[in-house]
Symmetry: C2
Subunit: 369 residues, 2 copies
C-alpha cells in the first residue's frame, strides 16, 4: 500500500491562497492534541482571542475563530444576522461579493446589490446615494476582492453608516494580516477572515468578530438561527465565561497553528508586516513591468497581496501555470468568473511576501512564457 504523503514536495504558493506556511506554524500543527475542555487548551483559546482583537484593533468580546474555512465565516455572519425578508445591501465588484449575494439570498433576505465594474473599486458616493433612498438591516462589502485584486474603501463606507442602525459587514479574508484593518475605528460590525491568506496558516479556520450592536441584533432575533453548527449564541458559551460548555469539538491542532501564525505577526510587528507586503508588491510590479506584463487594477486601489495581471497575448494560460508548477514548483492563480482565462492572480500573502519568492517567480516566468 503506497503512502501518497511521501510524495509531497514543497511548492512556493503564489496564488490566491493558501500561501506559504512558516515552518514553525507547520510544527505547531503537530503538537500533541489536548482535550477541547482542557484548561491548558482553554488558555490557548483565550490567547487567540486576544491576538485576534489586537490585530483587528477591536474591543469586541465576540472575536473568535469559527471551525470552518473563510466561506464558513461568511455563512456564519449572514446566518446569525439575517431573518426572513431582512433588507440587505451587498456591494459587488467580484466573485466574493457575488458569493455574499448567494449566501444571503438562500437565507431568505431581501437582497439588493450595487454593482461596480470588475477591477475597479466600490464608489462611496454611489453607496451614499443608495443609502439615502432606503434603509437596510446590513450593508456588506469585500475589503480585498481576491478575484480582481481591488481594495474597496471600507473606512469610507463605514463612515456612511456610523450614525445609523444599519450594520456593516466586511469580508476580510484576503486583507487580514496583510494590510491595516481597524475594526472599531472604521465602524465595522461584523467581519470574517480566513487563515490561509495573509495569516499564512493552512486553511480550516475563519476568524470572525462581532460588535456589541451586532451581538444585540443576534440576541433580538425572533427565530432561532437556522444553522446549529454556526449558531453564535451556542458557540459563545464555549469560547466565553468562567465555565465552558461543550458545543462542538474545536479543531484543536488547527488552533495551535493559528496561535503560532498570529504570534509570528505580532512578533514581527504589524507595521513591519504591512511594509513587507508593500515592498514585495512593488518589487513584483516592477519585475512584471520589465517583462511587459501589466496590472489589471489602477495603482490607487491595488492590493499588495493579490496582484491581478493580464495574461500576455498569445500565452497559453493553463500550460504556463502547469509548467510553473511542475518545473519550478511555483503555484500562481487562474482568473475566476468574468476574468477566467484573461488574468493571473499572483499572491504575495504573509510568509509568501518575500523578495526571494518574487525574484524566483520573475525568473521562472521568463522561462515558461
Amino acid at each position: 500500500m503506497k503512502n501518497l504523503l511521501q510524495d509531497i514536495a514543497p511548492v512556493t504558493l503564489m496564488g490566491p491562497g493558501p500561501s506559504c506556511v512558516h515552518p514553525s506554524v507547520l510544527a505547531a500543527l503537530s503538537k500533541p492534541t489536548l482535550g477541547h475542555l482542557d484548561p491548558e487548551f482553554i488558555r490557548i483559546m483565550d490567547a487567540i482571542k486576544t491576538q485576534l482583537k489586537t490585530l483587528l484593533h477591536t474591543e469586541n468580546d465576540l472575536t473568535i475563530p469559527i471551525s470552518g474555512t473563510g466561506s464558513a465565516g461568511m455563512e456564519c455572519c449572514f446566518v446569525n444576522l439575517i431573518e426572513k425578508d431582512d433588507p440587505v445591501l451587498i456591494l459587488v465588484n467580484g466573485v466574493f461579493g457575488m458569493r455574499m449575494q448567494d449566501v444571503a439570498t438562500r437565507l431568505g433576505a431581501q437582497v439588493e446589490t450595487l454593482e461596480f465594474e470588475w477591477g475597479t473599486p466600490v464608489i462611496v458616493d454611489v453607496v451614499q446615494k443608495k443609502l439615502k433612498e432606503k434603509s437596510y438591516k446590513l450593508v456588506a462589502v469585500v475589503h480585498a476582492e481576491t478575484s480582481t485584486g481591488v481594495q474597496n474603501p471600507v473606512p469610507g463606507i463605514g463612515n456612511l453608516l456610523k450614525d445609523s442602525d444599519t450594520l456593516f459587514l466586511v469580508d476580510a479574508v484576503t486583507s487580514f494580516g496583510g494590510m491595516e484593518i481597524r475594526m472599531d475605528d472604521w465602524g465595522i460590525d461584523m467581519l470574517y477572515s480566513g487563515t490561509q491568506k495573509c495569516l499564512s496558516c493552512p486553511p480550516g479556520l475563519s476568524p470572525v468578530s462581532f460588535s456589541p450592536a451586532a451581538v444585540a441584533a443576534i440576541q433580538a432575533r425572533k427565530t432561532k438561527v437556522p444553522n446549529w453548527y454556526l449558531d453564535l449564541s451556542l458557540i459563545m458559551n464555549y469560547w466565553e465565561g468562567a465555565t465552558r460548555a461543550y458545543h462542538h469539538t474545536a479543531p484543536i491542532n488547527m488552533l495551535y497553528g493559528l496561535f503560532q501564525a498570529l504570534f509570528l505577526i505580532l512578533e514581527e510587528g504589524e507595521t513591519q508586516v504591512f511594509e513587507r507586503h508593500m515592498e514585495n508588491h512593488r518589487r513584483l510590479v516592477q519585475a512584471l513591468d520589465q517583462m511587459g506584463i501589466h496590472m489589471v487594477v489602477d495603482a490607487s486601489c491595488r492590493l499588495p497581496m493579490l496582484n491581478a495581471v493580464y495574461i500576455p497575448d498569445g500565452v497559453d494560460d493553463a500550460a504556463v501555470r502547469s509548467r510553473l508548477l511542475k518545473t519550478h514548483k511555483i503555484e500562481i492563480g487562474a482568473g475566476l468568473g468574468n476574468f477566467a482565462g484573461k488574468i493571473w492572480r499572483i499572491g504575495l500573502m504573509g510568509h509568501t511576501a518575500r523578495a526571494e519568492n518574487v525574484d524566483k517567480l520573475a525568473a521562472s516566468l521568463k522561462t515558461v512564457c
Copy 2:
C-alpha cells in the same frame, strides 16, 4: 511575549474524543501545504474517498470529508435533505439524538421523535410500529450514542426501511473506525462521522457518505440548500469529475492527517482494529469491576469505545477528573445532559485503545478516587 505552545505536554486522551493521535498522523499534519487545486493534492483527495468507501463498505460515489467537525457533518446531512415541512422521525436516546432533533427543527422540518430511556438502546419493534402509522421522508438514529455508551441496532432499523422510500440517516461519529459499519448492506442512505474519535485524527473534518437515493433526493429539491458552505451540489464539483471547480479552500493539512489516520487503519486491518477495541474494552470493564466501578449499559448493547460508568458514591466528580488530568495526565469525560454528575465516560477510541492505557488509567484511578 510568551509562546503558550511550549507548555503543551502530552495527555492520554481517554474521554469521549478527541482520542490519542498516532505520531505519524501528527507528522502528516505538518507536511508542506499544497494548493487546493494542485494535481498532487487532488490525488490525495481521491485516495481519501477510496479509503472512506472501503472502510464504510459502500459504493457511494459521494463519500467525502466535509470541512468542519462532526456536527458540521450532521448539519450537512440535514440541510441538504430537508425542505420546509418535510416529515422526519428521529430516534432519541441521548444528547446526540437530541442534537439531531434541534438541527432538523431549525431547518423547518416537521420533526417527530421516538424516545428511549438513556442508557438503553432503541427498540426495533417500537420503531416498526411507528413506521406503520406514518411515512417519513427520513428516519435518523445515532449508531454509537457518545453521551450514554449505548450501541443502537442500526442494521435492524435499516431492515425496516429497505423497501420504502424513506431515507435512513445514521450518526457514525463515535462508531466509525471502532466497530463494523456496512453502509450498503445495512441500507444506510446518509452517514456522517468525525475524525477525532476512532479514526484518531485531530478534530476538524467530518466524513460523510450519501447513497444514490439520497443524491436523487437532493437533486429533486424544490428550493436551494439554505447553506452555501455545506451545499453538496456545489461541493461535489470540487470533489468529483475530471476538472475540479473551486468551491471553498479545503483544509489541506487536516486532510493529510485524515489520509494518514485511514492509512493506519487499513494497514492494521479492520478486523484487527475492531478486535483491539473489544479486547481493551473487556480489560477495562474487568479492571473497573475489581474497583467496584459499575457500567451504566447492559453488556448486550455496550459500546467498546465509549464506556459509561457510574461515579462511585461519595466521590467528587470534578475533583477526580481534575486530579487525573493534572497529576496523571489522563483525561476522562464527564457526563452530559441527564447524566451530568452521575457518570464518567471513558473512551477507548482508535489509538487510545491499547492495554497500556487501560492499565495506566486503572492504576491512576485507584490513587485519586
